[in-house]
Amino acid sequence: MKVAIFPSCIVDTVFPEAGAAAIRLLERLGLDIDFPLEQTCCGQMHLNTGYETRAKKLAARHLTNFTPYDWVVGISTSCTTAVREFYPQLLGPTRAAVGGTGKFIELSEFLLDVLGVTELQGTFAKKVTFHTSCHSLRGIHLGDRPQRLLGMLSGIQLVPLPKSDSCCGFGGTFSIKNSAISTVMMEEKLANVYWTGAEVLTAADSSCLMNLSGGIQAAKKPLTVMHYAEILEIATRQTQGKLSNFSGAK
């Protein structure tokens, strides 16, 4: 099974720690993970802002970069959504399917549905709250997969975030074009985050996390923001021997 990681531009340039964590975590589960260096951007930003022609070129190129792989594991729900849900419309369903959009998968789907992970040996003794990104919910329909994985760790206290599924206000260029609305949405989201009393805010999408951590820092709140892959990686870092139970790579 040849597996590549598709971390997204934001992770690559701004939050590389999330990508590094996902790679190390998967390696601990016994997999070889490639980071194909030709990968650039999936084209989501161009598509969403109305530059369809450019987006088309980027999309075609993106698929070609991953031709040799069986699975392309993403850790950014909006980027995996772009490939899986929007490419068929952008490139045409046949071209998208032949190009392999079906092998783009999010980390938690890969761990639970492909590898069949049922338990993880690791500890993370912190109070954590989870923001459900719009694309994890309605784009690729992750459901509660990331939370299920986090729940396998011992010591973790997962506190529910009120209105967890409401948008954080980022929306790519929306946060610049309509910054006043974006700011209000972010602030209302953060008010709920603070209300939970969590020490750590996590999500399956680094774009939301970039937005929210920007707000948290500006408000000077002592809250750690990290991708859930980082939590899984940190928790399992010290684990000796068998890290997980899973039915194995199919």
Binding site: V14, R24, L37, T40, Y51, C167
Partner: protein, 515 residues
């Protein structure tokens, strides 16, 4: 129509000016100025009372909707079926429209065709004049708002009275509606009591209780119902096989309007057609649950042509002083129909579920959209009806969070249409300096992103910019458009040690991991 540069405007070619009555922007030299969502919403969002009212109302209705939708086991099947019925009808619109016209005529009604708002207003005015009436009562209707009918009637000496409670509140207060189902959603009960007391109720007589407010309105309207000769209605559905119009409402005023006055005039968009009564069943299951969160709609009136003639005492021939007219309105709809992606918007049954779940609408309210059609449906419909130069900005009034698509009972892929309209808009932006700058930047970024070497350089420079420029930008960025809005409330991320690709290449991934 062509722009200053002489280039044809593509998708907006041939949009009659009359269509712009659905916009609520300023008039300039007899022309509407373009929608400015950004500046309007930036103002509206500071109205905390409005936000509180809307947030309270929409969150209540969201919960109700969720509950009653979860009771219907085959909800998804019904949505798919509804979408299919609409698509099928829209693809065969000419056929069903002819069938509909035949059946209305057979039932004693008269069908009028209106190409645009101007024609529809004129036909309606003439019909009212023929009946000799000085006033009309109205059933809540989006289409009459779209064509600006009330103002037009007033200009021509006819007094319209809205009979839907929320619509009446707006009319009395001189407010523009801000929601397609609950037009006065931006007002709370105290404000409504004050509006009533400032208009028809005696000061200090009214309690700010929903039942008391409704009762006062009922008293006020009763007179109007009894004395009116003409009612003007919209229509939720047109059933081709019977020539019927179905009107779905909650207060019973619609039924009074249809049955009391002798003359009924319906004005309905051509996209409201469905083939059969059996199809209506699908929509009557979906609509109340999606819109008001009710299992069944309180008042559904199905009206077919002219009521039968009756034999009056002492007369030889049957006598019928009742009349029924229906004006079928195009007003840009056939043009929308020619857009493969955009035409989905014509399937809309105006349930308003998309407004109630939209996080943007919840914060900025309906007035920010400066259109009769606000919220997500407004963002996809308005630019298509009035053209990109006037309303293209609305396609950007969304984070593409997808909540609207998830609840839409006819499965309109609203994010898909928004993206499509954005690309039409960016094609047009060649006319403005800022538009050209954005276009140019996205062009450059696109080239960089399409080339691994350039991308490597770019990602490394992002780190460097964050490292050396970040602290400076965090301080002065709030004065630098277009990023000022971002920086005002957020700190830029700190520069990482290196990019993921560099760390992977050099084998230094572990150095990136958090402690």
């Amino acid at each position: 129509m062509s722009t200053d540069s002489g280039r044809p405007e593509g998708p907006n070619e041939g949009i009659p000016r009359a269509n712009t009555w659905l916009l609520r922007t300023e008039h300039r030299d007899q022309q509407r100025s373009p929608v400015s969502f950004k500046s309007r919403s930036t103002r509206e969002i500071r109205n905390l009372q409005m936000r509180k009212n809307i947030s309270h109302a929409t969150s209540t209705i969201r919960e109700k909707r969720k509950k009653v939708v979860s009771e219907v086991e085959n909800w998804e099947e019904l949505r798919t079926r509804a979408a299919q019925i609409k698509q099928h009808t829209l693809s065969n619109l000419d056929f069903y429209l002819e069938e509909y016209e035949r059946n209305v005529t057979e039932a004693g009604g008269q069908v009028h065709w209106a190409r645009d708002a101007t024609e529809a207003r004129q036909i309606a005015l003439e019909l009212v004049r023929e009946s000799g009436a000085q006033s009309v009562i109205k059933v809540k209707s989006m289409v009459t708002e779209e064509i600006g009918l009330n103002d037009f009637l007033v200009e021509n000496g006819i007094e319209p009275t809205e009979t839907d409670l929320a619509e009446l509140i707006c009319q009395l207060a001189g407010d523009e509606s801000s929601h397609i189902l609950v037009p006065a959603i931006h007002r709370n009960r105290v404000e409504i009591r004050d509006i009533f007391e400032a208009t028809f109720a005696k000061k200090g007589t009214l309690e700010a209780e929903p039942s008391k407010i409704a009762e006062a309105a009922r008293q006020h309207l009763r007179e109007k119902f009894l004395e009116s000769k003409v009612a003007i209605t919209g229509g939720n559905f047109l059933v081709a096989e019977t020539g019927s119009v179905a009107i779905v409402e909650s207060e019973g005023n619609g039924r009074m309007c249809l049955t009391l006055p002798n003359n009924v005039i319906s004005i309905v968009g051509i996209e409201k057609l469905i083939p059969t009564m059996e199809d209506l069943e699908v929509f009557l299951t979906l609509l109340p649950r999606s819109s008001t969160g009710e299992r069944m709609n309180p008042y559904t009136t199905i009206w077919t042509g002219r009521p039968p003639a009756q034999l009056e005492l002492g007369k030889e021939t049957p006598f019928n002083e009742k009349s029924y007219h229906i004006i079928l309105l195009d007003n840009g709809r056939t043009r929308v129909l020619s857009d493969e992606i955009g035409k989905q918007a014509l399937s809309c049954i105006r349930c308003s579920a998309c407004l109630n779940v939209c996080p943007v609408y919840e914060r900025v309210g309906g007035h920010s959209y400066e259109s009769v059609y606000p919220g997500p449906i407004g963002a996809i419909l308005t630019p298509q009806l009035v053209g990109d130069p006037l309303a293209g900005e609305l396609a950007f009034a969304s984070t593409l969070c997808g909540a609207c698509y998830e609840v839409c009972p006819v499965k309109i892929n609203i994010p898909e249409i928004l993206i499509h309209l954005r690309s039409i808009h960016s094609d047009h932006k060649r006319d403005t300096v800022l538009g050209n700058i954005e276009r140019g930047s996205f062009g450059v970024v696109g080239i960089v992103m399409g080339n691994t070497n350039l991308f490597n350089i770019a990602t490394a420079s992002v780190s460097r910019i964050l490292k050396y420029g970040g602290p400076v930008l965090n301080r002065v960025g709030k004065y630098l458009p277009p990023i000022n809005g971002w920086i005002e409330s957020r700190t830029l991320p700190a520069a990482p040690k290196e990019t993921l690709r560099d760390a992977y290449r050099k084998g230094t991934l572990d150095a990136l991991l958090k402690k």
